[in-house]
Symmetry: D2
Subunit: 139 residues, 4 copies
Amino acid sequence: MIPAAQLAETIWREDTASRWLGMKLEEVRAGYARLSMRVQSHMGNAQNVCHGGLIFTLADSAFGYACNSHNQRALAASGAIDFLAPAQVGDELTAVASEVERAGRRGVYDVRVTNQAGTTVALFRGQSATVKGKWIEQP
Amino acid sequence: MIPAAQLAETIWREDTASRWLGMKLEEVRAGYARLSMRVQSHMGNAQNVCHGGLIFTLADSAFGYACNSHNQRALAASGAIDFLAPAQVGDELTAVASEVERAGRRGVYDVRVTNQAGTTVALFRGQSATVKGKWIEQP
Amino acid sequence: MIPAAQLAETIWREDTASRWLGMKLEEVRAGYARLSMRVQSHMGNAQNVCHGGLIFTLADSAFGYACNSHNQRALAASGAIDFLAPAQVGDELTAVASEVERAGRRGVYDVRVTNQAGTTVALFRGQSATVKGKWIEQP
Amino acid sequence: MIPAAQLAETIWREDTASRWLGMKLEEVRAGYARLSMRVQSHMGNAQNVCHGGLIFTLADSAFGYACNSHNQRALAASGAIDFLAPAQVGDELTAVASEVERAGRRGVYDVRVTNQAGTTVALFRGQSATVKGKWIEQP
């Protein structure tokens, strides 16, 4: 079995969007991923807080690493988020994704996004579907 | 009553994130908003398609303009998205948000994201909550 | 093609739960279903209003008839509901399901549940997945 | 502080719908509830498995006991469910609700519904909102 951390490095090299947004890949294990992102000034919306879509994007990236951590390619079929506290420009956000269940081709993953004070900014739940193909083909 | 298009222009000037992502404000009416975004090469993920979070972000922006179109400040409390078709780099995405219901401080809005061929890329439903304050104070 | 109304009658005869809950099959067309249910006294919860689960159940039944209206067997993969107004004992609830999108094996359906005064009680969105088999085999 | 188990008994006496559906109140602690329900023959749908709405109803009841376990009255604002495996007539379903987060008047609760073999039948996430009033007034 390919270690999840090695897989994550392989995926990360291709994951232009997450890198462009300034995310950092903190830790990936089987069924688990932790990513972080600093809220930059260009991420603010008209309410002067971080655009909710970018909080979702961080959570969605964490979800993506967790649901692909078994080397079987998986896609996000759907996702839902509860915004519980605003994220301010300058905040350091951390998203922790954990596998809730896998059943056949489907998976359910929960992600909690917190700020540097430990306050929960958002809760995300995502549904994945596996597709054909491995990230790293084994001999 | 302040026209929704005028409100939208006011909000747009402060909406750094949506402008940074290259979105265009196409049309806003009461309870309705249409925005567009071209998928740029830095928006691709490791599956070589547009990061789902950025599709959500476009939908969330359209939702934001629609739920703020009555001049009463409103926030996104939650949102959910179904990803139905991938968006490719170079695609021109359009998000159309429509008000489904307002009940007290709560609102529900649906957003359909399509590509230039008219294919539905994603369906979003968002829940808003009004907060104190107007975007433009009336004399 | 088998008419949706004929299909619905076939499904209804096997749909013990919906009949047991006192639902009525009002109208089914391709991609559309309307069912009604009176809130009976045993449906009340501790807040003395209709148990939200039974409102969901009515919406889920309407969703089921709409997503099976093409004669291809389909299952509910997931569903989400916003409870916007309470339903009182004695209320006559109507659930109208409409098809939002079909893409491959997946479908998305919206259901609005209203009471006899036309007030929206709940908004439901369901995700279906087709499975093998027809409801009525054609020669 | 009123013990959660005592509160639950008070609520249960008024909770006609859950009792009518044959649910059993197994255990309630602060932020936690466990209920069970046997799938009876009249709960079957046209696919000959338990109507998904009734699985949601069980999960929603567990959610209700968990979000009211602090003696502050709370309502379900919304809920979403993933159906992962069918429940057969005769199955003994157990729903375990746990508090994920409380933030101001809002709460988020997760419920896992399993059958007697331990298979996960459904995953539910509910959003609550507190309202005025206590279940048991303290002197």
